[in-house]
């Protein structure tokens, strides 16, 4: 039971971070379908720092890895920013390309590094046993991860940015009616860039959190298994509002956690379902939830439409 709560909380943290990133980006008017790729790149950045630092104090390690993951995510999100804000590219296409590119590039780079270190090693894995321990505080068998705090801070921060702040209101104006925002002197390009970069930061952090969730070795060929898209579903279910996103993330986290822990429940074991059913669970729940919540959608009105100064 403790294990289930632990996994629920850590997966919910991942989803919260990434979904909040998607939420900010969409409020600024850019659909960020590349979150999945941003997560991979963030995870890669964090993992590389964890590997190079090796042994240092826990505080330095945690901060350095988080900063690296966030920066890597931001840097990678620039690909979306350039294409979607300045070149009016199809945001769905660019996001998809970013997802494919991230997994492929991460695999190539990690393999190259592993092979350079040891010519017989062709795997795409990075190991971080010692570093992972520094992220975790063990309380009577419950593995508390610092990322849980980070996720809560992110929820509060995004809430304040969006609703209690001049910047957030301007940002949201750009997602609802950019021409109107422009007419009162708001720089739409700047606002959209901030939206994309913040989503890159949060996505990168989420990626690092994801690979730290259960294992201390990550194979980059696997990417992040659709988590970026689950996060977008969480965002839609949360109706683009930070507090609701937090609740939705907990629900989805629970179902994802079940696939890691169902063997610990005699009741679930007695159902005798194949393990794959539990693997599918988060995706199935996601579809059902979306079917019921998408109808009355409160999506930002101008999301996905490239900003054109001349149009009305």
């Amino acid at each position: 039971m403790l294990l289930l709560i632990q996994y629920t909380l850590i997966f919910a943290s991942v989803l919260m971070l990434v979904a909040l990133g998607g939420c900010i980006s969409e409020h600024s008017g850019i659909i960020n379908l590349g979150l999945e790729g941003i997560m991979v790149v963030g995870a890669l950045g964090g993992a590389l720092v964890m590997r190079t630092l090796g042994t240092t104090s826990a505080v330095v390690m945690v901060l350095a890895a988080m900063i690296a993951a966030g920066l890597a995510g931001m840097l990678y999100s620039c690909l979306l920013g350039v294409a979607a804000i300045h070149f009016k590219a199809d945001q769905t296409l660019v996001g998809t390309a970013m997802n494919l590119l991230a997994t492929a590039a991460a695999t190539v780079l990690v393999k190259a590094m592993n092979t350079a270190a040891n010519p017989d090693n062709h795997s795409s894995e990075i190991e971080y046993v010692a570093a992972r321990k520094m992220f975790i505080v063990n309380i009577n068998g419950f593995e508390f991860n610092w990322f849980m705090i980070v996720a809560i801070i992110a929820v509060v921060a995004v809430y304040f940015i969006l609703y209690k702040n001049k910047f957030g209101l301007r940002l949201m104006a750009c997602g609802e009616h950019p021409q109107a925002a422009d007419s009162v002197g708001i720089n739409v390009y700047k606002m959209r860039w901030s939206g994309v970069l913040i989503s890159g930061l949060l996505g990168g952090l989420g990626g690092l959190c994801y690979i730290l969730a259960g294992v201390s070795l990550w194979k980059f060929e696997n990417g992040v298994a659709g988590f970026g898209f689950l996060a977008l579903a969480v965002m839609i279910f949360g109706q683009w509002k930070p507090t609701r996103i937090a609740v939705a993330a907990l629900l989805f986290g629970l179902f994802r956690a079940l696939s890691n822990t169902y063997t610990g429940f005699p009741f679930l074991l007695s159902l005798n379902l194949p393990g794959n059913v539990y693997n599918m669970m988060p995706y199935i729940v996601c579809l059902i939830v979306l079917a019921f919540t998408s109808k009355a959608s409160h999506a930002p009105k101008a999301e996905g439409i490239p900003y054109d100064k001349g149009s009305r």
Binding site: L93, V94, T96, V108, K111, F229, N279
Partner: protein
């Protein structure tokens, strides 16, 4: 000359070539970055693919293998572009492909069906999956990209579970089709003789090419295709003109799914590939289809050539120098190409702007 440059098809072609060159250049830079020694040779090997073999017989045989894998890719890119023309980004093609593979392999191995019924079942299963996305989109307003991704994972795990019943006991792979049920394999029509006895080249080749032509005819020569495209261009205008937009969305995704399912059957029923029941990621074929569709300028005939190119460099990836690099470098190149395809509209606009400016100048002089 200007007239030629103004031509849409020429512009699309030029933009695609630009994307390819830029993609290869970036791939080369990545190789250089990893290890400058041997980068040039490796990128050339990717471009050469089967020509890296010295004997013409081996070249032909490897050419046949690339061709065998090109056919499913053509189908996947047709699936993507068909939906895209109707304004739907069917990323679920990857999952529909999985459903097709699962249905055709299971029917062939568990029920001993012949090749045609297996193929039809693959199309039905995949189009049913497409219908789910379509219904969710039409009636519940669920974004087709997100539901598509969710269905990709659901179908992957389902396929793994179902196909575990017909796998070899000692390995995670499904049983050999040619040993269990040769009747389920696609007829080769004597095509293998052209490829030095490579039996992976089958009926799939003509089927895929005919499918491409059919999709082109449907989209640009029939009323049905026109209605679909109208729905894609402006949902409300289409509704106003009396077109059943919900029906059109669902039908589109069903057809798109059927194309992807056919693609899977065209690969797995050659016996060239077997399903691995423990795989933890959705096969890349569906995603490469996106690259091929956009690189082909979203034209069915263009898709045939771009699919061959994408498969050519994907296969070429295995000839890189594995002392330094890995074959996934091809995936990097094709994903960069997809990314750059996002700029195609911009490239075309610039081309047109330059041409009109020159024409204006010329007009002013006269």
């Amino acid at each position: 000359m200007r007239k030629v440059l103004k031509n849409q098809a020429v512009q699309t072609f030029a933009a695609s070539i630009l994307c390819i060159l830029a993609g290869l250049l970036i791939g080369y830079i990545v190789l250089l970055f990893i290890n400058p020694q041997g980068a040039g040779e490796s990128i050339l090997n990717i471009i050469k693919n089967f020509f890296t073999w010295s004997r013409p017989q081996s070249q032909l045989k490897q050419f046949g293998n690339t061709l065998a894998k090109t056919m499913p890719l053509i189908m996947c890119s047709l699936s993507i572009l068909f939906a895209y023309k109707v304004g739907l980004f069917n990323i679920g093609t990857a999952g529909q492909y999985v459903a097709g593979a699962c249905a055709s392999l299971y029917a062939a191995l568990a029920w001993n069906w012949g090749w045609l019924p297996c193929m039809l079942l693959a199309m039905i299963a995949a189009s049913a999956l497409g219908a789910i996305t379509g219904i969710l989109k039409a009636y519940c307003n669920v974004n087709e990209v997100i539901s598509g991704i969710m269905l990709n994972w659901i179908s992957l795990y389902t396929a793994n579970t179902i196909l575990s019943n017909v796998k070899e006991t000692a390995s995670p792979y499904t049983l050999y089709l040619n040993k269990e049920n040769p009747a389920s394999m696609l007829p080769t029509l004597g095509l293998e003789k052209l490829f030095n006895g490579n039996t992976n080249v089958t009926l799939a080749v003509p089927v895929a090419i005919i499918a491409a032509i059919l999709v082109w005819v449907i989209l640009s020569k029939t009323r049905f295709g026109y209605e679909l495209k109208a729905t894609g261009n402006n949902k409300n205008a289409a509704k106003y003109a009396g077109m059943a937009q919900n029906r059109n969305i669902i039908l589109t995704l069903m057809i798109s799914g059927a194309l992807a399912g056919l693609g899977a059957s065209l690969l797995y029923q050659t016996g060239y590939m077997r399903w691995e029941c423990t795989q933890s990621s959705v096969p890349a074929m569906g995603f490469n289809g996106i690259a091929a569709a956009f690189l082909g300028g979203l034209h069915p005939i263009g898709a045939v050539f771009s699919s061959f190119f994408i498969q050519h460099i994907t296969d070429g990836g295995q000839y890189v120098n594995t002392n330094f690099y890995s074959s996934q470098i091809s995936d990097v190149i094709s994903s960069v190409i997809i990314y750059l395809c996002g700029f195609v509209l911009f490239i075309k606009l610039t081309m047109n702007r330059v041409i009109t400016r020159r024409e204006d100048k010329k007009g002013a002089k006269q």
